[in-house]
Amino acid sequence: MIEWGPMTAPIHPPLSGRIFSFNAEREAIVADVVERELARKGHAEQALELAINEAALHEIARLEGGPGSDRWREIYRTLGKKALSDKEALFRSLVAEAARDIVGNFDPKVYRFATSVVPYLLSFIMKPQGPAQLPAQRLSERIQAQGETEAVRALAQKGTVILVPTHSSNLDSIVIGYALYQLGLPPFTYGAGKNLFSNFLLTYFMNNLGAYKVDRRLGYALYKDVLKAYSTVILERGYHSLFFPGGGRCRSNAIESRLKLGLVGTGLAAYINNLRANKPQPDLFVVPATLNYHLVLEAETLIDDQLQRVGRSRYIIEDDESTQAGRIWSFANQMLRLDTSMVIRFGTPLDCFGNPVGADGVSRDRRGRPVDRRTYVLRDGEPRHQPQRDAEYTRELGQVIAESYRTNTVVLVTHLVAFALYQLFQQSHPGMDVFRLLRLPEDPVFNVRTVLETIDRLRERLQRMAEHGVLVLGREVQTATSATLLDMALPIFSLYHTRPLAVREGDDVVLTDRKLLLYYHNRLTGYGLEEVVAPERVLA
């Protein structure tokens, strides 16, 4: 495990990366995307017409007569009358337009500036804002990197790395960027939702640090194809990339298991293309990572959104103000409320087929035998694309990534105590669903002894699970007594959120925000820990 000192320079010597010469390749990348998309349609009139029409109809419906809709109406109206060469030219221009909208930019000067400023900035915003319940810590202690950091560094020099972390917060990409910098890795390019480009400060950095834009409103096939083609092209060209396969930020805070693998699959496409082109470094390595926060900045908004999705009509948000407040929270405001540490844990790197890869770059099967990964895509001795097969390989890779998330989840004190408290609450109302539980009028109260016994039982089970590699325990959870854990968790629960999650009143613990307790509790669901909690089932 690496624990960084209080430094602004990387702990490891910085590695060079293609990203530093990105701007020189921008137009070539766009041209490459255009040619590939045209080739994929086989220059066939019907395929081109279908793609353009579908895009036009989608945009006409989306824009609802607003700015830009006339152009799409015109395209739709005149397309049938155009000659093949004009259709091809139109297709080219639409693909190029989409690619230019997506394509990132990288300014080394901005990078140098950011890497010298961001650690100070993060240090500043991570200082306790309220009463100093926690001892002031150095940034290096607040953000810990664990796991296969050495292997990631080694593999970044042997091929292209695709980092696939869990996704909790809009802070994730900043924190990961900082972690990669400290590991001496070059910046990774990543797709950021275009909505994030509304904040001018963030936009400035993202626009200049290799982020590319993903416009989720553009759901038509042509745009999605261009996005995948762009990702494939930059991976082939050796740009380390970051994808969040969970999609958006995880609403429930449970460990992500349903992954969206569209962009992850571009890794395999790039690998096959690299083999076909006989590139000297054709390999792509997929590195799962978990981001484990004591508290998540957007927790209140996220759990509200989760409950709305799950409950549909059964759950009505009673406090509209808090939802509005969630919307108007500025990103800066959210960051200033942050006051805690987090752990990034890098899992075992994988090849595109889900085999573990060591720092030596060799894939191995579960018995540790070396695997020649090229053989998965060879047909009659040649590397070939086979869409159905390749989708299946990627699906299996997704299962391995999801399993890696589970085994590399780091249990922090807030997760453990929230799980204990919420389960005590839930199990004291057997048969009651989550929506009714959240609506009960009285704040639940538990005797502190019951709480401590529950934490003890949970920790005993968690320690056994950690010994078997089922998950990982945070430092405090490994060593502190249950009383200490509770004493640590309750002040953290009071730090950021509108209301504290739970408070101590004499010999009792009062659960003051059940929704947020549910959110933090969810981190430990799926491990079968529920049975450990509370045989007493008695409200204090």
């Binding site: 099967d365 579960r366 018995r367 695997v371 020649d372 998965y376 086979q386 159905q388 097969r389």
Partner: protein, 344 residues
Amino acid sequence: MTASTRVAVIGGGSWGTTVAGLIAANGHEVRLWMRDPGQAAQLNASRQNARYLPGVTLPPNIEATASLEDAAYGCQTLFLMVPSHSLRAIAGELGDYLDGSRILIHGIKGIEPASFKRMSQLLREETCCRQIGVMSGPNLAKEVAAGHPSATVIASRFQEVIDAGIELLKSKTFRVYGNDDVVGTELGGSLKNVLAIASGLAHGLGFGDNTMALLLTRGLTEMTRLGTSLGAHPQTFSGLSGIGDLMATCFSPLSRNYQVGFRLAKGEALEAITADLRQVAEGVRTTQTVAEYARAHGVYMPITEGVYRVLFEGFTPKEALAALLEAGRGSSEVDAPAREISIL
């Protein structure tokens, strides 16, 4: 696929030998792996598998070998036809000679005890291969070898595996279907062996067609219930690898599992029957594995439970049947797929 390919069949029991014969009849070169070098030599000399498929002359393009390395060499597709309890060890050794381009299709109807893993999961764990499929259906080896019209299913998530299986196995008398429900196909093949023992018991006790129909239909419900809880598609159990295999096994005295049940009902001891069969009756092990899983996970499987009691808890077949008919009586439980009041 080219006109003639080299194919490996791992396992020289009756079904493995039959599958080797089907593939060889399509003009492919087959390496048939047998654990016992003496048996392999005997087959090569006599063109017969005297122990497991006597009376059937095998084509000359089948060569038996006791070396897994020889068997795997140059083979794009390998069929694994060994008893379920041997698969993990054999696949682990075979894995030394495989790479990611190989296609593995198994025809094994069993579940690993304790882990409750299916055979395709064992192959995934013990080899580097990804393109894995299962072959299952109403395929009594002797009938297939004799050229009776039959059909089987190749299930895989990979279309290339299904295509390879169809190409290698199909013939004028043997039809091969494909599907992508590996879980359902594997479980159907495994669970029907338990019901085959139950049907043997019922026949052995002298019961007639009503009882058989009862066992089959409620047995199918039981299979489907467990299967869907593990991620299978319910419709798979209505196909060849579900009801198809169930019917063939439950009605056929050729089925080893049926024979176990029939002879138990006639008063023979289990140890004596299994020793006498010479080949593995997978249903005995599967009954134990499934019943223990169902108990632990609260899956309602009264027929499996009844067979388990006879095999492992000293119940007589009549006692088990009485308990079976009592199960759920008076309850208003409705079994969703069939909308019948459950008594079994």
